[in-house]
């Protein structure tokens, strides 16, 4: 019984993490039709900046509670700097090319950013564990979890809700849906498509960095985390249906629970299980779970 509970809780925590990372990816794909491999590097950049900034904050004797702010600031900064540079500086010259060529372009950006991270931060791992333990623990039955996991869960729900709200209720969101539906027509109606792309990419980049920043306290931040994470995010986004927000949420939960179950019952099937689900979903529903609503996908 307690093992099933543990699978559920571990699964949900893992799902929250997956969702935060995957949602930026699916947003960018939905609007711009770019499957952004560089999302992995944005995640890594977020993690490194967060580790540095929070470390700096704590080492200078400020209240450790403020380190959460530092994590957040790091994510926003990375999004605001890297997003516009990549979109304005490179991607806007590539629009209209084949989807697969765009994947390769972002792969090139990924390679460049991977080394940039190594140049700036070196190859030694960074640790910033204080924020993870600071909030105390919560218990379910005889299982104890750090409260930080609740932060992760809360953030995932918040991000999902805010995005859904923006899309459904705000002017910007409706313009976004129009662009997704028909780019040329919306441009003809006076929507500044370039600006929508710019904002979307920056927001997506920020979400990727946020994923990294929130993960930094839980792992050792080292080279390779971007490559490791981006394939997981791919799995989630592809399972959910490229560009679908509810799809990403459902896929994150599915993958999270499956992986937690694998870790608890058959640990040797850990990674295997995730990609098995991915392959199975692609075989049964070639375009992912939520691909039916072509027009309204984001």
């Amino acid at each position: 019984m307690s093992q099933i509970l543990a699978v559920l809780i571990d699964g949900l925590i893992y799902s929250s993490w997956l969702f935060i990372i995957a949602v930026g990816l699916t947003l960018i794909y939905g609007v711009m039709k770019i499957l952004n491999i560089a999302h992995g590097s944005l995640y890594a950049l977020g993690a490194y900046s967060a580790a540095s900034l929070a470390g700096y904050w704590i080492n200078h004797g400020h209240s450790p509670m403020g380190s959460y702010g530092a994590l957040l600031v790091a994510a926003v900064l990375v999004g605001l700097v890297a997003g516009p540079i990549i979109e304005r500086g490179l991607l806007r010259f590539m629009y209209g090319k084949d989807e697969i060529v765009l994947v390769l372009v972002t792969y090139a950006v990924f390679l460049i950013l991977e080394d940039l991270v190594k140049l700036v931060w070196g190859v030694d791992p960074y640790f910033i564990a204080q924020p993870y333990g600071l909030l105390g623990n919560f218990s379910v039955g005889d299982l104890t979890y750090p409260n930080y996991n609740l932060v992760l869960f809360g953030t995932a729900v918040l991000v999902g809700a805010v995005l859904a709200w923006i899309l459904a209720k705000t002017r910007q969101g409706k313009m976004l849906l129009a662009v997704i539906h028909d780019r040329e027509m919306s441009a003809a109606m006076g929507i500044n498509v370039g600006r929508v792309y710019f904002l979307t990419f920056t927001a997506g980049a920020m979400l990727g960095a946020l994923g990294g920043a929130l993960t930094a306290p839980m792992i050792s931040v080292q080279p390779g985390i971007g490559a490791e994470t981006i394939v997981l995010a791919f799995a989630v986004v592809v399972i959910g249906g490229l560009g679908s927000l509810p799809g990403a949420a459902l896929a994150a939960v599915l993958v999270g629970i499956v992986r937690a179950a694998a870790v608890h019952y058959r640990p040797e099937l850990d990674l295997f299980s995730i990609y098995l689900v991915m392959a199975a979903v692609l075989i049964l529903r070639p375009k992912g779970l939520f691909s039916a609503q072509e027009a309204r996908k984001i």
Binding site: D98, Y107, I112, L116, F234, V238, E268
Partner: protein, 313 residues
């Protein structure tokens, strides 16, 4: 119209490599050996790209070929290079024929993603298989070829090298003929307009399936040869970054000629080995920038430099 001199160049280069092999310094011999292995894999990527699909999971077959060869050595104590190669071909042909049944229905990004998923499944399995060394992999030692024991390490090195050169020659010659056959010519037609090919009565799915199997077998041969040359294999060979590199070198080389993949692979391996030596933390950046330059200014890959120059002349 100028006569196509590709077969002549192919045979001449192979003969040159075979003849000069014993006199090359060890590092140069290794470099040529490894780039040819890579070139064989990229030759298969080229065929897929000509067909209009890009696999982001060819590491699957590269790794499978290497592990088929390695398992023979490690588990069954068969350290005959010829047997290892045959095993790699059989394993990759069987797996790709089965997976091709699914993949033949997919295009574009979905083809890329499903093939990625398959390769990551193999990666996930191997990382946790302690009998095969988990994430560390294992060493292999191939000291025999077709039943004949090779004497001395220098002799062994040359035999490995010669085997790779001959395989590269064979794959290149095969591909040259294939691209001129009925099936081969359909490949580019599919990339240009799938629907019209169907109207003309050819089965697009069959062509994609066959080409997928061919490219998988080439990747398997490349993987087995690389395993024999390097003497060590690990699950990283199935990781998505390995597959990404194959796509990268395919784009860099261009799909215009069967020699392009070998040239591209040689340039890539040369840059890689020198960059590892002198600037291990910026070589990926150099690759990324090169890739962007090629995509923007040389959509036909490096090979298009030659054809351009020829047209101008």
């Amino acid at each position: 119209m100028r006569r196509d001199r590709t077969p002549v160049i192919l045979v001449a280069v192979a003969a040159l490599l075979l003849a000069t092999g014993p006199f090359l310094p060890r590092w140069a011999m290794f470099l040529v050996n490894v780039s040819l292995c890579y070139g064989i894999v990229v030759l298969g990527m080229m065929l897929l790209m000509r067909t209009g699909v890009v696999s982001f999971g060819h590491g699957l077959y590269y790794c499978l070929g290497a592990y088929a060869a390695g398992t023979l050595d490690q588990v069954y104590k068969v350290s005959d290079m010829a047997v290892m190669l045959v095993a790699a071909v059989i394993a990759t042909a069987a797996v790709s024929a089965a997976l091709g049944l699914l993949l033949r229905k997919y295009r574009d990004i979905f083809f890329a993603m499903l093939s990625l998923a398959f390769s990551m499944i193999l990666y996930g399995l191997l990382v946790k298989t302690s009998a095969l060394g988990s994430s560390d992999g294992f060493n292999i030692a191939a000291a025999k070829i077709a039943g004949i024991q090779v004497a001395g390490t220098a002799g062994e090195r040359y035999v490995r090298y010669a085997l790779t050169v001959l395989c590269a020659l064979g794959s290149g010659a095969f591909m040259y003929r294939y691209l001129r056959s009925h099936m081969g010519r359909l490949a580019e037609a599919i990339r240009d307009n799938e629907l019209r090919v169907e109207y003309m009565g050819a089965s697009v799915r069959n062509v994609i399936h066959v080409n997928y199997v061919i490219s998988a077998v080439l990747a398997g041969i490349g993987g087995a040869l690389a395993a024999i040359a390097v003497g060590h294999i690990d699950p990283e060979m199935a990781y998505w970054t390995t597959s990404g590199e194959f796509v990268f070198v395919g784009i860099l080389s261009g799909t215009g000629n069967i020699l392009a993949p070998f040239l591209g692979a040689f340039i890539f391996e040369t840059i890689r080995s020198f960059a590892y030596e002198y600037s291990p933390n910026t070589w990926q950046m150099a690759l990324g920038i090169t890739m962007l330059v090629v995509i923007m200014f040389l959509p036909g890959g490096l090979w298009s430099l030659f054809t351009r120059w020829r047209k101008a002349a």
